[in-house]
Symmetry: C2
Subunit: 351 residues, 2 copies
Amino acid sequence: MSSTLAVDLMGGDHGPKVTLPACVQFLQEHPEGRVILVGQPEVVSPLLESHRLKDHPRVEFVPASEVVTSDDPVEIALRRKRDSSMRRAIELVRDGRAQACVSAGNTGALMALARYLLKTLLDIERPAIATYLPNQKGKGTLMLDLGANVDCEPLHLLQFAVMGTAYAATAGQAQPTVGLLNIGEEVIKGNDTIKRAAELLREADALGRLRFHGNVEGDDIFKGTTDIVVCDGFVGNVALKTSEGLAQMLSGMIREEFTRTPLSKLMALVALPVLKRFRRRVDHRRYNGAALLGLRGLVVKSHGSADAFGFEQALLRAHEAVQGDVVRHTERILEAMHESSPQGTESAPAS
Amino acid sequence: MSSTLAVDLMGGDHGPKVTLPACVQFLQEHPEGRVILVGQPEVVSPLLESHRLKDHPRVEFVPASEVVTSDDPVEIALRRKRDSSMRRAIELVRDGRAQACVSAGNTGALMALARYLLKTLLDIERPAIATYLPNQKGKGTLMLDLGANVDCEPLHLLQFAVMGTAYAATAGQAQPTVGLLNIGEEVIKGNDTIKRAAELLREADALGRLRFHGNVEGDDIFKGTTDIVVCDGFVGNVALKTSEGLAQMLSGMIREEFTRTPLSKLMALVALPVLKRFRRRVDHRRYNGAALLGLRGLVVKSHGSADAFGFEQALLRAHEAVQGDVVRHTERILEAMHESSPQGTESAPAS
């Protein structure tokens, strides 16, 4: 199945210098992939020439005169910069010209624009941000929400589980298990939101909508106890950032120890092949690409500082999700839930 | 300054087999330290003999007939097992016979008993659990709460900052900086609780009660951006467990890579001194010992699975905090805050 990705060339710390080479690589490796490149003509045109994309049969160019910067408030992106590359790229998805949009721009603006232009799916109150984290089993744990929703109701957590289930299926996990992030059994056992969310998840499991494993704790994310871990956006964002910080500290310390003395440098040289293989296994760039889920169209957010390899991974995520028809798949589960529940899932109290 | 620690010998996965040797080591290294050992006589007596602690001038033994197990619900620990080693050890602090209690037992039971027997300090509504995590600066970041309080009001977060400030001072950080854990600026900027907590912290800073740095994110914990990181117990527990899980996964992967082939095993042998030094730097046992803060007496909780080296670190934490007079120091800040605020800090809405 072919896919057409709308790519916001201007987003991220590096803009077209990174996003364009990533597209070239993607097109080479995926003959079924097409891209619509969106950006400022004066910046992008010379690069299109030099990368020989001008007359590429699977490349289209759509001009946009403005760029949403990383400090632009949501309001600017929504109301002022109406011809931004980010907005134009999402509009291509809305208009059915592309099946997914990929951007390395400002997360808040991207989420707001995506929500405004694409709208949410049936009964979905809040879209969520989902990403894969590496785990001991080598498959990756899908975690959501990572920061779109600070305070969540039980229904939202259930909906995240549904979105995650549909998304994970596009990455080859046909019947993924869902874990609800909670805290240690030793201490107070979670709060009311978590308890009620667990009930909703058990019901959905009994109806065959998803596979609920039960509560999990922070360490289960990296153990890979479940394929999906669901939590509110505050907790998810803290867990993600904490992990990034720890990984950085540890790799810094390994580097320090191996460069401390001439002898340890020699040891590093000897151990280099092993260290390299280790680094490749935990390379965070391989996990780049967070999906904005729950919308009537797919948007994938790349890390702002991603390099071409990292941005290409985000393109791949989008490509895979399009091939797995993630939006339609999510819709199907939501429709089934809506019908099986007497009042539909929208009956829950608004937050 | 001398210290007397009441030690619950029976707590944890290993009981006296681990806790007793740790006490022996502690006594040897700290001639100013005294311990009151609490445990079941039939189990402990032979070990006291074999470790030559029977007539040790700085050792006292207090019998207790019961043990709080790791699965005992809080109610059992509070109402049924009235002669447990955990309870007796805390009572020694309450009665002024010891200045701190150290236990590797069930966290929920320990917190409930400590709260019930010792009571909270002036204006403190919720005690908190605090521990040090390693950071890039090599000093350690004090983080609290780690799971005692699932839902926190802004006032609680302020109080955690006060408790943390007093506790960190006992570890040699005279004027520690406080960071309030929040999520990325890109996304929605925190919730109302965090915003109001930040206001309270700014006020306390202006009055010279503590040093408020501002908001921090998950990665700042390991960067060591601030000496103290304050958050609610749900978030803190998830961040802690997530870090533990990631550290385990990474060390497992390093081990795997270095034992994959005979050649990589040889490389590991060459690199061993460096790998050992690295492991020592990140050895989680060195950070064992979480303090229960906000009470009219100090209680230190050791990890249940700690070995003798780990348990000794928990004893050291308690010893240091006693020498720094942490309870009195916390009280002084609270009294100053109580007086400077027209209604005292207890004026905030109850949760």
